[in-house]
């Protein structure tokens, strides 16, 4: 068994000869407690550009909590998280998002009272569109940005062949469509790190292959992916590296083939 930070390996996108790339996202000794429960117990992990890391482990292992620590949804008791070399441990979620972290949630988080199109456009504007000052001071510019964002939203919708749900409210979508809206929303933001919490739940089987291909393309665009996923065939297909969690800690890390052979992993999964 190997600690995950001992074997980050060069990023696939890095030139073969150059110096090893610095991690985009780096977590060190992260601890999260909810009252008496220790959800994450000293986990460390690096993520590199154009690389997909799978985070697997039994229910309650602390995977979602760890993603919340990275995204800023959960406060960490100790440890640190840095993004592009800067410590972001104390930054609120919106500030981390502005620095390049995007994420989806285990419970889908589409804006239910907004159309798919509005979901995307809001994501694209992000902080800039939310500024009351800019809306009041430059209404015309704000309108121009809206048109630019609309163009981008159509591009993303077309890439996922979902233009026909553009005007459907979030609450009218199927579970799988909601997952896709969340991912499309993230792509509107050009993130450097994309955190996905069980993105395949509720997605129709024939669409899973499509989504795996899409996620590979996203990764190959240079985005760093961290994916919590129960479907092991997805992990095998998509992830360059796998970290196995149990009871808040990493119990194995390496390639998919390496970790599934690990005894401890088999024990953790079989209970």
């Amino acid at each position: 068994m190997t600690a995950p930070d001992d074997m980050p390996g060069p990023s696939p996108a890095a030139p073969a000869a150059g110096p090893p790339a610095a991690p985009v996202l780096s977590a060190r000794d992260v601890v999260i407690r909810y009252g008496g429960v220790t959800a994450v117990n000293g986990l460390s992990m690096d993520a590199f550009a154009a690389e997909a890391v799978g985070l697997i482990g039994p229910n309650g292992a602390g995977k979602s909590s760890f993603l919340a620590a990275l995204g800023g949804q959960a406060r960490i008791q100790s440890g640190s998280i840095s993004l592009a070399g800067q410590n972001v441990s104390r930054l609120p979620a919106h500030a981390r998002a502005r620095r390049g972290i995007a994420r989806t949630f285990q419970l889908t988080s589409e804006f239910s009272g907004m159309t798919t199109f509005e979901n995307l456009v809001t994501a694209g504007h992000g902080a800039a569109g939310a500024s009351l000052a800019s809306v009041l001071a430059h209404p015309r510019r704000s309108r121009q940005q809206d048109l630019a964002m609309a163009r981008r939203a159509w591009e993303v919708l077309e890439r996922f062949e979902l233009a026909d749900i553009a005007n459907a409210y979030g609450r009218e979508l199927s579970g799988g469509q909601r997952r896709l809206v969340e991912i499309m929303r993230c792509l509107m933001r050009s993130p450097t790190v994309l955190l996905l919490d069980e993105p395949m739940v509720g997605v129709a089987p024939h669409l899973v292959d499509r989504m795996v291909a899409d996620l590979k393309a996203i990764r190959d665009d240079g985005i760093s992916l961290i994916i919590v996923e129960h479907a092991l065939e997805v992990v095998r297909e998509l992830c360059d590296r796998v970290v196995v969690m149990a009871d808040g800690a990493s119990i194995a890390a390496g390639s998919y083939e390496q970790v599934v052979k690990d005894r401890e992993v088999q024990a953790a999964y079989l209970g």
């Binding site: 800023g72 589409e110 992000g126």
Partner: protein, 324 residues
């Protein structure tokens, strides 16, 4: 006979305008941002008080009522001050009341703030003249305009409606802007909104302050019309009337709010005051509150989206594709 009816109608128009401003404010806060402002009335009352004390003139030893910051500012400065005071109070309350706690807790905190404020004002005679409130507040420009009493009534009603139109357009424009869309994102899923870079706390505070400004303005308009300010008149229950109106008309739809404000407060609360009493004195008044509660429950059960639901914002066309 005829003159009493025009008096009645013009008074109703002013009340309608004040309630409409309240509805616009609450719809921006709740319908768009999901902030449940059960303390709405204190921002309206604060605006009213501010407008009153800067219209009454200084509070000297000779004056029979006590208040602070007495002055005699010319029209429309008292109204501007009322707006500013509503906004400032909302800023202060929002800073404490809109912490990142669950939304229903926020609502309860705001309700409690409004109850405490009422107690405080009634207890503190030197500050707000206690539960007697303020009377004899002169009406703006009444001597300058030299109108008949009825003419003045109508002029005031027209002035209120003009301000309503202005606020209506402003609020609707803001709601449709990218800022308004961000508010709806916060309303629907605040963790997701934050994960897309939206500063949830700042957005909530902004919408709270804008709503507070509108509340202050509406209070100023009302107090200058009635000429009196009494803490008893600003009970928390008034807030629920406007909430009911918003739910009846349609949350998130400004035309719905207009309709709801026309139907609920005017029909149920104002009209009966001008009608003959039934039963013992006070019975009609108590029945009104029961009716408001029943109407709210009925609409939530039968048509939760209101008479006019929020309208779907259709996608902008893809200009690059159409050009090709």
């Amino acid at each position: 006979m005829l003159s009493s009816w025009t008096f009645f109608i013009s008074t109703l128009v002013v009340y309608f305008g004040v309630d409409l401003l309240s509805g616009l404010s609450l719809n921006l806060q709740f319908g768009y941002a999901g902030v449940i402002n059960f303390g709405y009335i204190i921002f309206q009352a604060a605006g009213a008080y501010a407008a009153a004390v800067v219209t009454l003139g200084p509070s000297g030893p000779a004056s029979f009522q006590h208040y602070v910051f007495g002055a005699k500012l010319p029209f429309p400065l008292p109204l501007l001050l009322a707006t500013a005071v509503g906004a400032a109070l909302a800023g202060v309350v929002g800073l404490f009341g809109l912490r990142r706690i669950r939304r229903d807790y926020q609502a309860v905190v705001l309700l409690i703030v409004s109850l405490i404020a009422l107690q405080l004002v009634q207890a503190d005679v030197p500050l707000f003249n206690g539960s007697n409130g303020l009377v004899g507040i002169p009406r703006p420009l009444q001597s300058q305009l030299a109108l008949t009493p009825q003419g003045y009534q109508w002029a005031y009603a027209a002035w209120v409606l003009a301000l309503c139109a202005l606020v209506y357009l402003l609020v609707r424009w803001l709601s449709k802007s990218t800022w308004g869309r961000s508010l709806r994102a916060v309303r629907d899923q605040e963790d997701a909104a934050a994960s897309l870079g939206l500063n949830v706390t700042a957005l909530r505070l902004q919408v709270f302050v804008i709503g507070g400004a509108i509340a202050g303005l509406s209070g100023g308009l009302l107090v200058e019309f009635i000429g009196a300010w009494s803490p008893d008149a600003w009970g928390y229950a008034e807030t629920f009337v406007i909430f009911t109106a918003m739910f009846v008309g349609g949350v998130g739809n400004y035309r719905g709010v207009l309709l709801g404000v026309l139907l609920v407060p005017i029909l149920f609360l104002q009209l009966p005051q001008f009608l003959p009493q039934i039963g013992y004195p006070g019975l009609t008044g108590s029945l009104e509150w029961i009716i408001v509660g029943l109407v709210w429950m009925a609409i939530l059960l039968l048509r939760p989206q209101g008479i006019l639901p929020e309208r779907r914002a259709l996608a902008l066309p893809d200009l690059s594709r159409e050009a090709a």
